[in-house]
């Protein structure tokens, strides 16, 4: 494993303006020693994956509370695979029904978090994933 900190892109795709969760998680990841690039609101799948490429990010985290999660996660995953980022973690959170989480997990999207999940659970999940990857 290299010494560089885990690098995470945090973004809000689509039109959803609810950025409380994204900002709070971003801050928790920084406090946990990760490097966070927060892209902000109204990102497109293209702008997110481009940023992931440019930043050589380990993790892409999307926050979606608008109901458009299937559309956005699917498209970001496709683009990540096309751009050779298939080995990076795509995770995120929002208001995402279990059924849809399962659909997305099958497409290779990582764990998805919801309201009330402990910040430390998210931090631990990313750390565990990164440790497994560097083995």
């Amino acid at each position: 494993m290299t010494d560089r900190p885990i690098k995470v892109i945090v973004a809000k795709p689509g039109l959803d303006g609810h950025d409380r969760g994204a900002k709070v998680v971003a801050r928790a990841l920084v406090e946990a020693g990760m490097e966070v690039v927060y892209l902000g609101l109204r990102q497109t799948p293209e702008s997110i994956v481009n940023a992931a490429l440019e930043e050589d990010a380990d993790v892409v985290g999307l926050s979606i509370l608008s109901g458009a999660h299937l559309t956005h996660f699917r498209r970001v995953k496709e683009l990540m695979d096309e751009q050779g980022l298939g080995d990076r973690l795509l995770t995120g959170g929002g208001i995402i029904p279990t059924k849809d989480q399962e659909t997305l997990n099958k497409l290779g999207v990582g764990r998805l978090f919801g309201p009330g999940d402990d910040l430390r659970t998210i931090v631990d999940y990313i750390r565990t994933w990164a440790a497994a990857r560097s083995k």
Binding site: V10, G14, R20, V24, A68
Partner: protein, 545 residues
């Protein structure tokens, strides 16, 4: 030795629970409030009777004995036809006002067929592209009898002209329309994040709308200055109070600068607050809001008409307090929050449904939410007496404390050069994010409790309530209907009126008449947005956390 001192000794000698006794906003609280805490606050200058300056005890002399608050459930889903059915359902269940929730593309001023609307049409509210959708949305609803609130901000002016054009077609005079347009762009930059242009052109449109309505739609509340979204973004109670009222002062100053007379527009300014979980803090916040607003309007801006001094407000229970876990217990949270709204003296109230941390509300869930208001109004007895908590040592001290905290924020905003400059520097945004993070950490460390989330958790719980889903046919149908409208309208005339609008936008005149012209001819929301954007430009946020 007085009884107080004796109590003090006993209290100090007591063993206390290992718990955090601060408010949900982190305010330090005493274990007991006594006459000494509220003595200075009992004078007429601070309280006064209800319906009299400074209105701490309520905006009307008779409050709920005269008229109950309006029971107004925020609703919108899928297509205008589906939402119209929901409105009719709510009205048959005893709702007394309507409140429109628009979908995300509409909130941004985009049409349903915009490339970036994909996946979002009808998902979190109703899609409205043209006057034709407005016609369907309110079909069969007596707009001259039921008041209508519309939660729309960036494109508020042209959603309103579509609403007006619909009333016109149905032969309802503008003067008989009652309702509220949210139309509060400053809190968009601070919290809700749905804007189109930079602040200045948006502020101009707001002033134009105030001037137009003062003359033509006199019963309409032209703005609902909103703390709700600021609180949902994670602010404290004091921040919600301070940023909302500071936004209000800004709108007043802009309208005065545009040459409007304060008593012509100020009576139609209204407010919107959150009712969060900390019961007494919320009641105190609402009482403080009335007192602060009255004082500033009278003393700072010189308003003479007592109606200009009134902070009339809508309340919605806190969406962010709802849990996806054990959703049925949200009914209880909402009941407590709604009670705080009523004891705080709200003019209208929305109660959240138990399933709203998971989806838009089902019929069953929204019915229970409405019934909650009816229980408070008709069973609990709290509506029998005006401001029943007035004079409570604790509530009066807390009201004063929140007022002081708000005044402190007003000074800081002033130092930064006013609200618009403060937003550009990210001041309110950073204050809110810090408060949100601190609360989340308090939950993580279990210093604060959210039942079912960080304590009293049901391991491996299964969801036992039905949820509604907005399926993909909604987007398809809405796009098809939009294409049909474009095919049958007079496209030449639409084109000409849009060009007139663009010209008007480049000049100094009031834009509402030109917007109304476009709306009458079924110009789309997105076409109007694009015409104005060519003149006004787009706003880009500097992201930070």
């Amino acid at each position: 030795m007085s009884d107080k001192n004796k109590w003090d000794d006993f209290y100090r000698a007591s063993e206390l629970r290992d718990a955090d006794f601060t408010s949900i906003s982190g305010n330090t609280l005493k274990p007991l409030y006594t006459k000494a805490d509220s003595q200075a606050l009992e004078g007429e200058a601070e309280l006064g009777p209800p319906g009299e300056y400074p209105y701490t005890r309520g905006v009307h002399p008779s409050m709920y004995r005269g008229r109950l608050w309006t029971m107004r459930q925020f609703a919108g889903m899928g297509t205008p036809r589906q939402t119209n059915e929901r409105y009719k359902f709510l009205l048959t269940k005893g709702q007394t006002g309507l409140s429109v929730a628009f979908d995300n593309p509409t909130l941004y001023g985009w049409d349903s067929d915009h490339a970036l609307s994909a996946g979002e049409v009808g998902k979190t509210g109703v899609a409205v592209d043209t006057l034709a959708d407005m016609e369907l949305l309110f079909d069969g609803i007596p707009l001259d009898k039921v008041s209508t609130s519309m939660t729309i901000n960036a494109p508020a002016a042209w959603i309103f002209t579509m609403f007006l054009a619909n009333a016109e077609k149905r032969g309802i005079p503008f003067a008989r329309l009652r309702g509220t347009l949210q139309n509060d762009i400053l809190k968009e930059y601070i919290a809700q994040k749905e804007w189109i242009f930079p602040p200045e052109p948006h502020l101009r449109l707001i002033t134009d709308l105030m001037a137009f309505s003062a003359e033509r739609v006199p019963q309409w509340n032209t703005i609902s200055i909103s703390g709700y979204h600021i609180r949902e973004a994670g602010s404290t109670a004091a921040q919600e109070l301070a940023f909302t009222l500071a936004d209000g002062f800004t709108y007043v100053e802009r309208a005065l600068k545009a040459g409007l007379k304060i008593d012509d527009f100020a009576p139609r300014l209204s407010f919107f607050f959150n009712a969060h979980l900390d019961f007494f803090e919320e009641i105190a916040k609402m009482r403080a809001a009335r007192r602060i607003w009255a004082r500033h309007m009278k003393e700072r801006y010189g308003a003479k008409n007592p109606r200009s001094w009134l902070c009339r407000f809508h309340v919605q229970t806190a969406g962010c307090s709802l849990t996806a876990q054990q959703p049925e217990i949200n009914i209880v949270r909402t009941a407590l929050e709604a009670l705080a709204g009523v004891l705080g003296g709200c003019q209208s109230l929305h109660t959240n449904s138990m399933d709203e941390a998971l989806a838009l509300p089902s019929e069953k869930a929204v019915e229970i939410a409405l019934r909650t208001q009816q229980i408070i109004a008709f069973e609990s007895g709290v509506a029998n007496v005006i401001d029943p908590l007035g004079g409570s040592y604790y509530v009066e001290a807390l009201t004063k404390d929140l007022e002081n905290q708000a005044e402190h924020y007003f000074r800081r905003i002033e130092e930064l050069g006013g609200v618009v400059r403060a937003i550009e520097q990210g001041f309110p945004q950073k204050e809110i994010t810090r408060a949100a993070y601190e609360y989340q950490m308090a939950l993580s460390r279990k210093r604060k409790t959210h039942v079912g989330v960080n304590n009293f958790v049901n391991e491996g719980e299964a969801l036992e309530i039905p949820l509604i889903e907005i399926d993909e046919t909604v987007e398809r149908d809405q796009i098809r209907d939009l294409a049909a409208v474009k095919a049958r309208r007079d496209n030449g005339a639409v084109h000409d009126r849009l060009r007139d609008l663009e010209k008007a936008a480049a000049g100094p005149g009031n834009l509402i008449p030109a917007l109304l012209e476009c709306s009458r001819l079924y110009a789309t929301l997105g076409e109007i947005s694009r015409s104005l954007t060519r003149v006004f430009g787009e706003y880009r946020e500097q992201p930070f956390f």
